[in-house]
Symmetry: C2
Subunit: 179 residues, 2 copies
Amino acid sequence: MKYCQSCGSTVNICIPSGDNRERYVCISCGDIHYQNPKIVAGCLPVWEDKVLLCKRAIEPRRGYWTLPAGFMENEETLEQAAARESVEEANASLENLRLYTIISLPHISQVYMMFLADLNNTDFYPGVESLETELFSEEKIPWEDLAFKTIDTTLQNFFIDRKKGAFPLHSSVIEMKNH
Amino acid sequence: MKYCQSCGSTVNICIPSGDNRERYVCISCGDIHYQNPKIVAGCLPVWEDKVLLCKRAIEPRRGYWTLPAGFMENEETLEQAAARESVEEANASLENLRLYTIISLPHISQVYMMFLADLNNTDFYPGVESLETELFSEEKIPWEDLAFKTIDTTLQNFFIDRKKGAFPLHSSVIEMKNH
């Protein structure tokens, strides 16, 4: 950030009065421009003994497999965001969404919120951000070609929990450069 | 937002190519300035049969009672954010944080993430954003003077769950003008 979005003047980095960390502060109007973590909401869509993955058509990690997920938008709920992303990336019709994996990624200031969900049918197909959409059994998961560590973690949780027959909420932290 | 934070030129509101909703887009450099929901992280600190509340020293809702909570900052985890807010607002020493209440507030583009936590001692005292910090038993909770509906919901969940002896995660939505 170089310029104030309120008045167009230059911003400085300084600790505002009464604060305890550096912020972008306008040298002219004094507006403080806070920056906060973003939520990535998505789903783990399940059909019989398989799960739905999407091959990414966009960077980062174009060509790698992921679960449908993306940045939560203003004026929506977590569940709406997760369902919307599943439609946008895979045209997936889902029901019974339940929060399943929460992962803080402090090095990139993101929090993943992944929902377990039931596919209503197999009429899914790639949205513009996906090259392919496909159901995978546990044995066929392309573990070496997953896009992000968050997706790997969510899928690993799922296959372990499925053997136990219970899907409790998993809350964790991933701290690394390549998530 | 009126000006581009990258180049200082005017921004327009339009739907970028390949997108499906209105964004702030710079008429000069073309930068797209996304806006996303913010996470409010906090704690419900418990000491014996009582919970710790803070009387707000700042607007909005100055003079009303709340649980320690505030905007999650970049480069921290959910749990770190919740613990930090509890120190900043109440100098509360906490342990055993477990995620307890998640509330989407789409009308103000916020998601509350409240942790149940054990107070290590009663050496808490008000931080600069609090006028008072005090332990309340269920009978003494100032229900009519709580700052936000999210706090009311979290406390109600707690006292109901305590009678049942189990504290499952509660995920909900509050849609109203005065949360």
